[in-house]
Amino acid sequence: MNPIFEEIKDAIVEGDEDLAIELAEKVVAEGIDPVQAVQLGFIKGIEEVGAAWTSGEAFLPDVMMAADAMKAGMDVLEEVLAAGEGDGAYEDKGKIVLGTVEGDIHDIGKNIVGALLTSAGFKVYDIGIDQKAEDFVAKADEVGARIIAASSLLTTTMKSQKVLVEYLDAQKLRDKYKVIIGGGPTSAKWGEDIGADGWAETADEAVELCKKLLG
């Protein structure tokens, strides 16, 4: 096995974004099999961090920095992977557009959800805070996402989650995407009331939810 795969894995476990990029660039430059780099390097690393997180040995900075490093490295490989280079094929578990709804700037929870989804193998497009329904949908359309995930931390901005579902209805796009919601003041009942496809209380549960929806 090419020793670079082990180095990539370590870079992810260490949450070293710069090193992950550097190694990914080396993979491209030297024509190393990118699918193997993903499977034996990036995914191995993130799985290791994920397992440590589940057992309570790893903490948020470990997981979030690993997810950032993974994302940065994978971005470098994106082109060669898309071109179908390498042995076999690598495909993410599904694309998810994630953001905080209009009027709301809370983003810690959203960022954690994003990191855990990334580490579970989903490709997450984080569009940031204070985002309109149109912005979620435009991004989902652009990247071919299957899930739209909206976070809200205020009782006064929860209705923007409803607006998102209504917007999809109005655009006749409701069947194209699964909509999931979350954030402090939201609840399973609220999810049902507005016709979302799912709600989760924690980031762990958000991962399970996405697996179920795309399974």
């Binding site: 903490f59 948020l60 700037i105 810690i108 954690i112 009782t155 924690t202």
Partner: protein, 476 residues
């Protein structure tokens, strides 16, 4: 009153103060609201876009203009409060969207809950004011929530309360409504009657809504709490000294702005900084770090010569259990014994500000009573209190139970629990009620027996007319 103790040395205070000033000067603070930017420009501060870089001497001079204490006026003057100095002011929790009930249920908070918590605070002898946003009444449209909430405070109690800070317009509504209650804008300008909570957006930002609120209160001479909540480890550094420096910089920037707008405007230095739970990312407030941030903030307030807000009956527990009790006692005790003056969130909070609980309110009310007694310390002023004569009268071997001196003094010297059980085992085991169950019976009893103090019908009419007019305009 007991002397307040320090948690930082003078040298540590200086080091953190300097660190904060350096943050303000070199990193700067982002103010998204254009009118605030204009104010800073007018005062000759360096501005790039929305980022303001504050000169250290300027900050120190401005903060110096803020008063060391002020009086907040209630519709019943007996409930006027002095905020600052040795005083401590207790009130209910603020902003929780949920209510958790005695048997573990969770539901959205409503306007009926709102009225109930205001009444409980009105009835309590340990709550000095009825607070503000005691829960988030989710069954009321947000356009008019601020009006309904203010009405609840006005009608259900005659103690001081807090107003909206959510944007210039809503802030002005609550100020004008308070003016109606007190007899005019010029009256409350002279005698401040409404206080609000302005939060920074950590790290190093203030947003439009909060700045709009800040400008309304500053312009009309109403006091406000300028607070920062650093979640050490996520919205701030994971070191205590770093997080405190960051919080301090944000609060100083906010206070500076208030004093630019209206020099001498009463402000309260506020802190709710605590830590991030590094496994889940959630805020965690029932811990020694929060107690330390709170006490350090009280000390910084003394250093800057302004009153302090911090602490409360704070916990991460989801129900009224041992954790709820020991965490809340720790933070409230630390706040009260180290010099916090304005204790938002004294009673009712569960799960890091997410929920209010009636049972928890009663537990915290008990804790508040205990702490208030503790703060009174020892009275050694008179011979009566030194009790030499009665010790002599009883002499060796007797007892004090039948002494006049005893009968006269125990009521004022001893704290009398309202909730705690001091019975024998047999006495207790007749019903075997735990604190949670006793608290449930207690709040129901208090609410059933509470009669809100009467409001002059002529004033009531004016208040209602104001609310009706504004509601119509806002719901259009």
């Amino acid at each position: 009153m007991l002397p307040k103790f320090d948690v930082l040395t003078d040298e540590q205070i200086n080091k953190i103060h300097k660190n904060s000033l350096k943050i303000l000067q070199e990193i700067g603070v982002e103010f998204s609201y254009d009118p605030a930017i204009e104010v800073f420009k007018k005062h000759g501060q360096r501005v790039e876009g929305h980022r303001v870089f504050l000169d250290p001497d300027f900050v120190e001079n401005m903060v110096e203009k803020a008063p060391a204490q002020f009086t907040l006026h209630a519709r019943n003057p007996e409930h006027n409060l002095v905020c600052g100095g040795e005083n401590v002011i207790y009130m209910p929790g603020y902003g929780a969207p949920f209510v958790y009930d005695a048997d573990g249920g969770k539901r959205d908070a409503t306007m009926a809950d709102y009225d109930n918590f205001v009444k409980l605070a009105g009835a309590s002898k340990n709550m000095h004011m009825t607070g503000g946003t005691v829960v988030e009444p989710t069954d009321v449209e947000d356009e008019i929530r601020h009006l309904k909430m203010a009405y609840s405070h006005i009608i259900n109690s005659d103690k001081c309360f807090m107003g909206s800070s959510s944007g210039y317009e809503h802030a002005m509504d609550s100020i004008k409504l308070t003016a109606v209650l007190h007899g005019g804008m010029d009256v409350i300008k002279e005698k401040p009657a409404l206080i609000c909570l302005v939060n920074s957006v950590t790290p190093l930002k203030y947003d439009d809504r909060m700045l709009g609120g800040l400008m309304a209160y500053a312009e009309t001479g109403q006091p406000m709490v300028i607070a920062s909540l650093v979640m050490a480890g996520s919205t701030g550094p994971a070191t205590m000294a770093g997080a405190l420096s960051l919080q301090n910089a944000e609060v100083l920037a906010g206070i500076t702005l208030t004093q630019c707008i209206n020099p001498g405007t009463p402000v309260v230095y506020g802190s709710t900084s605590a830590v991030t739970d590094m496994s889940t990312g959630s805020l965690s407030i029932g811990n020694p770090e929060n107690a330390l941030f709170t006490s350090a903030s009280a000390q910084f307030s003394r250093f800057y010569g302004v009153p302090c807000r911090g602490g409360g009956g704070l916990t991460d527990a989801k129900t009224v259990d041992a954790q709820a009790g020991y965490e809340s006692m720790m933070v409230l005790f630390a706040a009260s014994t180290t010099g916090v003056n304005f204790v938002l969130h004294t009673a009712g909070i569960l799960q890091y500000y997410m929920a209010m609980s009636y049972e928890k309110f009663m537990v915290d009310d008990e804790i508040a009573g205990m702490v208030l007694r503790y703060l009174k310390g020892f009275d050694t002023d008179s011979d009566e209190k030194m009790a030499y004569d009665v010790i002599e009268a009883v002499g060796p071997g007797g007892h004090f139970l039948t002494q006049k001196h005893t009968r006269k003094n125990f009521k004022t010297e001893f704290f009398r629990p309202a909730l705690s059980d001091r019975q024998s085992f047999d006495g207790w085991s007749k019903d075997s009620l735990d604190t949670n169950q006793r608290a449930k019976l207690k709040w129901q009893e208090v609410l059933a027996n509470y009669t809100p103090p009467e409001l002059d019908p002529a004033i009531k009419e004016k208040v209602e007319a104001f609310i009706e007019k504004r509601s119509k305009e806002l719901l259009k």
